[in-house]
């Protein structure tokens, strides 16, 4: 079937099968591979996107369900050039190793700071505990969130 999606402010059309996830359609059909697939069952947060401003795992949302809603992916946070303050903070704080978890963490952090511009340590732990990172040990991710909160 043909669906119309509002992704990063653009109206995009895609031919999808009924069971296809939003993550699959973003990555495989719309040329937006920034959101990562690391488990496909809602356990790692690598596929985090915003759906009408709410944080969701794109692997758990059907593409068809996203029709008529605004989708923002990591590619849409900052526009064509430049960096969103959260992206800049991740790069500057060294919160990135292999970077496979980074798009998901960046989107999750942007969502957190949107609702809570000055989160406490515990609030950061709470908000980011659904995003797995196997490399960094998370310490510099804390630094990045605090850095972004201060900017």
């Amino acid at each position: 079937m043909r669906i119309e999606l509002d992704v990063n402010g653009e109206q995009l059309e895609a031919d999808v099968w009924a069971g296809e996830s939003l993550l699959y359609v973003l990555r495989e059909r719309l040329g937006l591979p920034g959101s990562k697939n690391a488990c496909e069952q809602g356990e790692c947060g690598s596929c985090s996107v915003l759906l009408d401003g709410e944080l969701v795992c794109a692997c758990l949302v059907l593409a068809a369900q996203a029709e008529g809603h605004e989708v923002v992916t990591v590619e849409g946070l900052a526009g064509a050039e430049g960096l969103h303050p959260v992206q800049a903070a991740f790069a500057r704080a060294g919160a990135v190793q292999c970077g496979f978890c980074t798009p998901g963490l960046v989107v999750t952090t942007a969502h957190l700071l949107e609702r809570n511009p000055d989160p406490s340590e515990d609030e950061i732990r709470e908000a980011l505990s659904g995003n797995l990172c196997r490399c960094t040990g998370y310490a510099k991710i804390f630094d990045a969130v605090k850095l972004a909160a201060g900017t």
Partner: protein
């Protein structure tokens, strides 16, 4: 001039002798300490691409007409395929080709572990490939699996001959001891779970195979694929520009590459074979579980008289037996040491290298044993370690190229002095304590490794080498090294890597070897380019070469002259300066190792068995540190993995059938940001004066090595309980607490009896 040299190379404890060709003069090392760029914190040169989601991983490669493969895997730990029919698979929608046992050496009709690849299919979409596989008609003959490692050793089911090594006389060592402790330690099977799963995209073009793969060793994949497919190596191109983690599990091509290559050959289309998370947790390797039966004996002053270790590595159906006894052989100046390692061949998924394989497990046993010995002797654990400090390598009597473990211990002291204070925090059921453990590992790297440095007329520099950055920040470190040598700022350096057709041979990124192998090659290539710039400048300004050098983007002369480097490079027009560099030999007759110590502060709830890690201090000696920001991130990452290994991660098997129960990230508990303690990372930042033109060793592996033992020793300090089995679940914690209470009870009874007798 090209020089032919015979040298020794070590990767993860395996030494090989080899000839290398080095064609430049050795450079003197830079002075110790932070320089202009090297030794100063540098954010990733590619941080922006990664943060914007623009970095292209293997998972993101899209080629026109690309098909997707799915793999039929054995649901049994040991079975035989009685019959297999793929005709309905082939007839399913979207299917383009199927493979069965016999079509590829990676497919088997006698699977020896749950998850072994049996058949494969390529279809237009992955969903179609998966759906088609469900149509496969397989009749299995299920066989009895061998799962018990001790039984395997008894029956002689081993992957290799037992590895036994002995120095001195352990019998005498035991009789000379005034205190002897014997204990059995166990470590569990741990899964890598890199976030990017194992995968490859293969495409044939006029008899040439392009392999896009998530890998730690481009050139190893090239060699193995070429050999297996009987192609000249230059017909195989391997590409990996960005890579989503490996931790040792992505050193070779893996079955998925061969499946993709064969399906691509048959269909004439590009084929992706990407594992799902469940497959990842079955069939991509693991850190094998171990059983360690250990003995330590010492005189009352703490001098070790004997160390003995009998190790069983549960290797699995294939794989190799890691050096679990390595730390026991290397860490202490004990004259009488005997180590025996057995690699049990079982019907379980094969192991794979995982961040310091063998040493992580072996250090847990050894360093817990040392603390149990310290308790028996009533000695301070740090004191016991210093008393048995090894000044040279006792395995074969070689001097160390550098060793600053004593300095690590010295820096540990102020933290160690907090012990009373930490214990005093105990309140109600929560007991606090502190423990430490030492670290030894390889990490010297070696030749061959090559790099080129190109300087364009705009004065910008490109470092070209076909290495990979597996996430550790090698790209940034190489840029820093080139910038330093050329006297340029970091933003003028570009690093081009990740493609065997675009750069020279580069080292594997395993065994903590990327920086010590590649860094010196990049520096020598940059020095070659710098020398050429100086030569041209000397002619341009009518000066002698020896009075000129490169600094802060300028060519400066001894008498105070200074010209922007572009003044020279723009003379090149369309031309370029090309510098070439090679990794020189390792120091002959010396042992190059990395060292460190970690201290853990924990809190244990003795009623529920809950363990919390409050703080870890890590002090490591890896020679010169190139990028302190990247280095501390390595340490933090290693420690969190170590905490996962210690407290939560456990690959579980069904004890009856041998099938893997923990296939998802729900079932297999990785640490999250909620588990992060305070981490203090320090480095003894002293160049190894004998090692290369940099004096740098590797840091990828050292930080994970001592974490488990430091935590277990802190638990002992807090509670008196000897935890001897990983992971330290609540059950294990409560078991250890019960055992401690019983032991105390017995001791008290013995004391009372003693008092009565002496009365």
């Amino acid at each position: 001039m090209a020089r032919l040299i015979r040298t020794e190379k070590e990767v993860e404890g395996h030494y090989t002798e080899q000839w290398i060709v080095v064609d430049e003069d050795a450079l003197d090392q830079w002075p110790a300490g932070p320089l202009q760029t090297v030794g100063k914190p540098a954010p990733r040169v590619d941080g922006r691409e990664r943060a914007r989601g623009e970095a292209t991983y293997t998972a993101d490669i899209q080629l026109p007409g690309m098909l997707h493969a799915a793999v039929l895997r054995s649901p049994h730990a040991r079975a035989r395929v009685r019959s297999l029919s793929l005709s309905s698979v082939l007839a399913a929608p979207g299917v383009r080709a199927v493979l069965e046992p016999g079509d590829s050496h990676v497919l088997t009709d006698e699977p020896g572990y749950h998850g072994a690849a049996v058949a494969a299919v390529a279809a237009d979409t992955f969903a179609q490939a998966r759906a088609a596989l469900a149509q496969a008609a397989v009749e299995w003959e299920v066989l009895e699996p061998l799962l018990d490692p001790d039984q395997a050793v008894e029956k002689g089911s081993l992957v290799s001959e037992p590895n036994v090594s002995e120095r001195g006389a352990t019998e005498r060592g035991v009789s000379e001891a005034e205190a002897v402790v014997e204990a059995e330690y166990r470590t569990q099977t741990v899964l890598h779970n890199s976030l990017e799963t194992h995968q490859a995209v293969c495409v044939w073009e006029s008899g040439r195979l392009d392999v896009y793969i998530s890998t730690q060793f481009l050139w190893g994949v090239r060699a193995t694929v070429a050999e297996q497919l009987e192609l000249p190596p230059d017909k195989v191109r391997v590409v990996c520009n960005f890579m989503g983690g490996g931790f040792g599990s992505k050193n070779g091509p893996g079955e998925y590459t061969f499946i993709a290559a064969e399906l691509a050959r048959r269909t004439g289309r590009p084929v992706r074979c990407a594992l799902t998370r469940r497959e990842e947790n079955l069939a991509t390797g693991n850190r094998n579980s171990t059983i360690q039966r250990l003995t330590a004996g010492a005189r009352s002053d703490g001098t070790l008289t004997v160390l003995k270790g009998d190790y069983v590595n549960s290797v699995g159906f294939e794989g190799w037996s890691p050096s679990t006894g390595g730390p026991m052989e290397l860490l202490y100046a004990c004259e009488n040491v005997r180590v025996a390692e057995h690699g049990a061949k079982l019907n379980t998924p094969p192991n794979a290298a995982f961040r310091a394989p063998g040493f992580v497990e072996g250090t847990f046993g050894l360093e817990c044993l040392m603390d149990e010995l310290a308790a028996r002797l009533d000695l301070d654990p740090l004191e016991l370690r210093m008393r048995n400090y090894a000044d040279s390598d006792l395995v074969d009597g070689r001097p160390f190229s550098s060793k600053n473990l004593l300095e690590c211990y010295r820096r540990a002291q102020p933290h160690w002095a907090r012990r009373e204070e930490v214990r005093a925090r105990s309140q109600g059921p929560w007991k606090h304590g502190m423990g430490l453990a030492s670290q030894v590992w390889y990490g010297g790297g070696g030749p061959p490794s090559y790099a080129w440095v190109r300087v364009g007329s705009d004065g910008r520099v490109q470092v070209v080498t076909a290495m990979q950055d597996i996430g550790t920040g090698s790209r940034t470190a190489m840029a820093q090294i080139a910038a330093e040598e050329l006297g340029l700022s970091l933003d003028r350096i570009e690093v081009s890597l990740g493609d065997t057709s675009r750069g020279p041979f580069a080292s594997i990124s395993a065994g903590s070897s990327t920086i010590p192998s590649m860094g010196p090659a990049v520096r020598s290539a940059a020095a070659d380019a710098a020398r050429q710039i100086v030569e041209i400048a000397a002619q341009r300004y009518h000066l002698e070469e020896r009075v000129l050098s490169l600094r802060n983007g300028h060519i400066v002369s001894a008498d105070g002259g200074s010209w922007p480097i572009e003044e020279i490079t723009e003379l090149l027009g369309e031309g370029q300066i090309l510098g070439k560099g090679a990794r020189g030999p390792n120091p002959t007759g010396m042992r190059t190792l990395t060292f460190g110590v970690q201290l853990a502060e924990v809190a244990v709830d003795i009623e529920t068995g809950e363990v919390l890690v409050d703080r870890i201090v890590a002090i490591h000696d890896v020679g010169r540190v190139i990028n302190p920001l990247g280095a501390s991130s390595q340490v933090e990452g290693g420690i969190i993995q170590g905490i996962g290994h210690t407290l939560s991660e456990d690959r579980l098997l069904d004890p009856g059938t041998g099938t893997v129960l923990t296939q998802t990230l729900d079932a297999y508990k990785l640490p999250t940001i909620a588990d992060v303690p305070e981490i203090v990372a320090e480095f003894v930042d002293r160049p190894d004066e004998h090692l290369t033109n940099l004096g740098s060793k590797g840091l990828g592996e050292p930080p994970i090595i001592p974490t488990s033992a430091a935590i277990a020793n802190a638990i002992r300090d807090a509670t008196g309980a000897n935890v001897r089995s990983l992971p330290i679940t609540r059950e294990e914690m409560l078991r250890a607490l019960r055992a401690a209470r019983e032991r105390e009870g017995l001791e008290r009874t013995a004391e009372t009896v003693g008092e009565v007798r002496s009365a």
